[in-house]
């Protein structure tokens, strides 16, 4: 099938999904199957369209609409196709998951949820393919509005509507910057098609860079523009959270790639440095804040901030290499970033789905109240574990592959920046990435242990049952993809180099193709720093096999049943390690950044020596919220209070203002 047919079929499937959800809103089962089933079909068609582009080269066709702002073209080059594939894959998995998960929402506005969900997915797919400024902005805003309404779906909860409000305000600020960035690129009197955009000269080009970084950075959730993300992602229904955290924030990476690769071209060194600084901040602070959370969905949302930071490490490296005239290394860095886009989309949506399954089974998102679920939900536990290992960047899973590639790019930084600065930057950024991975691993040890291991910490956790197969199947598929991309990353990396090479000039294409640098990072025979995931897996399996043989030969397990000695008290779940306790050493080590405020309440008892109840609370300080957003909101309120003096409520005074302005304008206009 031609791309245009696939695209039309995709749009049709989503339109049918929306119509079905709307028409059958009174019959939730029908609406559920129509909305989410057709959405899954649409997403698969998007993946097919992407495959078609990769097979047959970039595609373009004009839409048969004539707008006020000129013709609208759908153009799918390799970059668009890559994002189509990412969104399609995650969207399809989330839609199948939603078939079972939205049973929770029967009788709770399921019709509108299905309608908005389909609109949300479609708008994302349109964003990454449409090739005209106004159409892009419209699709972008449609995406924002649909996701805003989905975040606010459980509007009875005050937290949800508050989160939605914060989200709306922040993304609107971001969109303003995006529009400015686009308008800076539009040639005077020129067309608004992406092909006609050209970078302006001088400081306007820098302004376009900064506006794009702020605008798309808000959507991506880079620190300090991230405040909406940990509020909004947990508030949405879980399959929507999976899509938002997995792919919606990646549309911002798509926007950045369009701007920095295609529209603006290589810039000064400080562009890359600025992106790298934001990336380092986002990755370390994101994972530190994640470690401090107890709400599993909120924790995962903070991990999205961290992973966006890792992706931006690749983007920033790409910018630096491009400005230093090193297209091959720039291609490496960009490919690392795009690879992590895909990987994060896979494992983050997998983890959100796992969290959703747990939430549905145990009715709580607080990991302090979970525990022991591995016995009740073995498959969910297994898939969650795969996602956790992947996000921690451990080999042989996909998170490792892309982080390894990012490491390779960062180690080469001194090639772009001469002197001590480059060496220092490389050292610092490599350690930042390493620290991030280590902290993420610590965080997921905590999450997995608290949710799945030990004894249930509450009655509802003890009553948990395994999720429906419709929820397990997409999780299993995503987990399998995580493993596959980790073990066999090379084919995808060559696909990604093909994706970014056209933007980096003809030289880059040749260098990337001939040098085959990507194999350097992964081939066992290459120079230092090289490795092969497949060989690694083989070694791992061999080791396991040897261990199994050794166990068979020499292992003898003596089972001895007996009660755990707990000083004469019956052991209960309250004696287990808590998430707060697990995070305490890290909270101490990073006290300078997290500024924890512990709060111990001891309820005194006449009997001094036993039965004292202690309540321990610890709050950490979100420095950017405290240092930027709180003063800003206070300032806004103070300004409003000041302006209120103008608003006396007297009609006469209001008309008086008009008279004063009229007379002033009249006098001024006659140059009196």
């Amino acid at each position: 099938m031609e791309f245009i047919h696939l695209y039309a079929a995709m749009a049709g499937a989503f339109a049918a999904a929306m119509a079905g959800a709307l028409i059958f809103r009174e019959r939730p089962a029908v609406a559920n199957w129509l909305a989410h089933g057709l959405s899954a079909a649409g997403c698969l068609l998007a993946v097919a369209g992407a495959a078609r582009v990769f097979a047959a080269g970039p595609q373009a066709f004009g839409l048969p609409v004539d707008t006020l702002f000129g013709a609208v073209t759908v153009r799918a080059d390799y970059l668009s196709a890559f994002f189509l594939a990412v969104i399609g894959t995650v969207g399809a998995a989330a839609s199948v998951y939603a078939l079972a998960y939205s049973r929770e929402y029967y009788g709770r506005r399921l019709g509108s949820m299905g309608l908005l969900y389909a609109a949300f997915l479609l708008s994302m797919l349109v964003v990454v393919t449409v090739s005209q400024v106004v159409a892009f902005v419209v699709a972008w805003e449609l995406m924002t509005v649909a996701s805003f309404l989905l975040v606010a779906h459980e509007r009875e909860k005050a937290a949800a509507s508050r989160a939605a409000y914060v989200y709306f305000v922040m993304t609107h600020i971001g969109t303003a910057f995006i529009i400015v960035a686009f308008l800076l690129l539009v040639p005077p009197g020129g067309s608004l098609d992406f092909a006609a955009l050209a970078a302006p000269a001088g400081w306007l080009r820098d302004a376009a860079f900064v506006c794009a970084l702020i605008g798309f950075g808000t959507k991506a959730g880079i620190i300090p523009l991230h405040v909406w993300l940990p509020e909004a992602h947990p508030a949405a229904p879980t399959h929507v959270s999976a899509v938002m955290s997995g792919v919606m924030i990646k549309t911002a990476i798509y926007g950045l790639a369009r701007f920095y690769l295609e529209f603006l071209g290589p810039g000064p060194l400080w562009w890359g440095a600025a992106v790298l600084a934001a990336a380092a901040l986002s990755s370390v602070l994101g994972v530190l804040y994640a470690l401090m959370q107890h709400d599993v969905k909120r924790l995962l949302a903070y991990h999205s901030v961290e992973n966006i930071g890792i992706i931006l490490l690749g983007v920033g490296g790409g910018l630096l290499f491009a400005s230093a005239g090193l297209p091959a290394l720039a291609g490496l860095a960009w490919a690392a970033a795009l690879f992590h886009v895909l990987n994060h989309a896979l494992f983050k949506s997998l983890l959100f789905m796992g969290a959703g399954a747990v939430l549905q089974a145990a009715h709580t998102r607080d990991i302090e109240h979970l525990g022991g679920l591995i016995r009740f939900m073995p498959y969910t536990a297994l898939f969650f574990l795969v996602g956790a290992v992947a996000i921690s960047g451990l080999p042989p899973l996909n998170g490792f592959a892309s982080e390894w590639l990012t490491f390779q790019a960062l180690v080469a930084l001194p090639a772009a920046v001469a002197g001590m600065a480059g060496k220092l930057a490389a050292a610092v950024l490599v350690s930042v990435l390493g620290l991030t991975g280590a902290l993420a691993a610590a965080c997921f040890v905590k999450v997995f242990a608290m949710i799945f291991l030990a004894k249930p910490r509450s009655e509802q956790a003890a009553a948990a049952r395994e999720a429906s197969w419709l929820m397990l199947a997409p999780m299993g598929a995503l987990a399998a993809l995580c493993v596959a991309l980790g073990v066999l990353p090379v084919w995808l990396i060559s696909l990604l180099t093909g994706t970014v090479a056209p933007f980096l000039g003809e030289g880059a294409k040749a260098a990337l193709a001939e040098g085959a640098w990507h194999t350097a990072g992964f081939r066992a025979t290459a120079a230092a720093g090289a490795m092969s995931p497949a060989a690694l897996v083989a070694l791992l399996l061999a080791g396991l096999a040897a261990a199994a043989v050794a166990y068979r030969a020499f292992g003898r397990v003596e089972r001895a049943a007996g009660e755990t000695w707990t000083c004469g008290i019956v052991p209960t779940a309250r004696m287990e390690y808590t998430a707060t306790g697990f995070a305490e050493p890290i909270r101490r080590a990073f006290a300078a950044v997290l500024l924890p405020k512990p709060d111990v309440v001891v309820e005194e008892d006449p009997h001094h020596y036993f039965g004292r109840r202690m309540v321990f609370h610890v709050r950490i300080t979100y420095i950017f919220t405290e240092a930027v957003y709180r003063p800003a909101s206070r300032g806004a309120v103070a300004l409003a209070q000041f302006m209120k003096r103008l608003q006396t409520g007297s009609v006469q005074l209001y008309v008086g203002y008009i008279l004063a302005v009229t007379v002033a304008v009249l006098v001024w206009s006659t140059r009196w």
Partner: protein, 208 residues
């Protein structure tokens, strides 16, 4: 034309002095009649027949329907009068004089040697005095009167600068005024019903 301009300024000046609502409406009626006459005169000078239609419409709408509606309302408000204006009558008159000076000064500066100097200046002065009435009076009726005065000024401005607007636009303007006044009369009536007064300073309480 000059005579008519002087008459118009005189009516506007009188409006700043009156505190009885019925008197104000009668002065307004006279003012609108003068505007209609000005329209007819302008049409006669320019030889445009459609101006006579406009003049007739002015008489019907501004000297007929609107004063009729306002007077009916005033009859219901027997005990209402402008007792406590924001600025007293004397100061308002002074301000009106200031507005006239300002208007003439503006015309001298912006359009030196314009043919219909008096008419244009009168128009600007009427707009300013109308605004002044809205600002300084608390009675809803007086504010409506101020608005119609402004409207008359605008109409005169259009008349004196363009040799008459196309009829369709004039019809639009009349319809606009009629609808606006209808709404305002209804609102004033509801104000009376809800608060037993048409003193708009009571609306301050609406502020949150």
């Amino acid at each position: 034309m000059e005579t008519l301009a002087i008459l118009l300024l005189a009516t506007a000046f009188l409006l700043t002095r009156t505190s009885r609502l019925a008197t104000a409406v009668h002065i307004l009626l006279a003012q609108s009649a003068v505007v209609a006459a000005a329209c007819a005169v302008a049409g006669w000078q320019a030889g445009e027949t459609h101006m006579f239609v406009a003049a007739l419409l002015t008489v019907v709408v501004k000297a007929g329907l609107i004063p009729y509606a306002l007077l009916r309302l005033v009859r219901l408000l027997r005990r209402e009068r402008e007792v406590n204006p924001v600025i007293g009558a004397n100061m308002t008159s002074l301000a009106a004089v200031g507005a006239m000076v300002l208007a003439y000064g503006l015309i001298e500066h912006a359009l030196p040697a314009v043919i219909s100097r008096d008419a244009v200046a009168t128009a600007v002065a009427l707009v300013l005095i109308g605004l002044l009435l809205i600002i300084t009076r608390r009675q809803a009726i007086m504010q409506i009167v101020g608005l119609i005065t402004m409207e008359n000024g605008l109409y005169l401005l259009g008349l004196s600068t363009t040799r008459g607007l196309p009829l369709i636009i004039e019809l639009g303007i009349f319809f606009d005024v009629l609808v606006a006044v209808t709404v305002m009369v209804i609102l004033a009536f509801r104000l009376k019903r809800s608060f037993q007064t048409t003193d708009t300073s009571i609306l301050k309480r609406l502020k949150g």
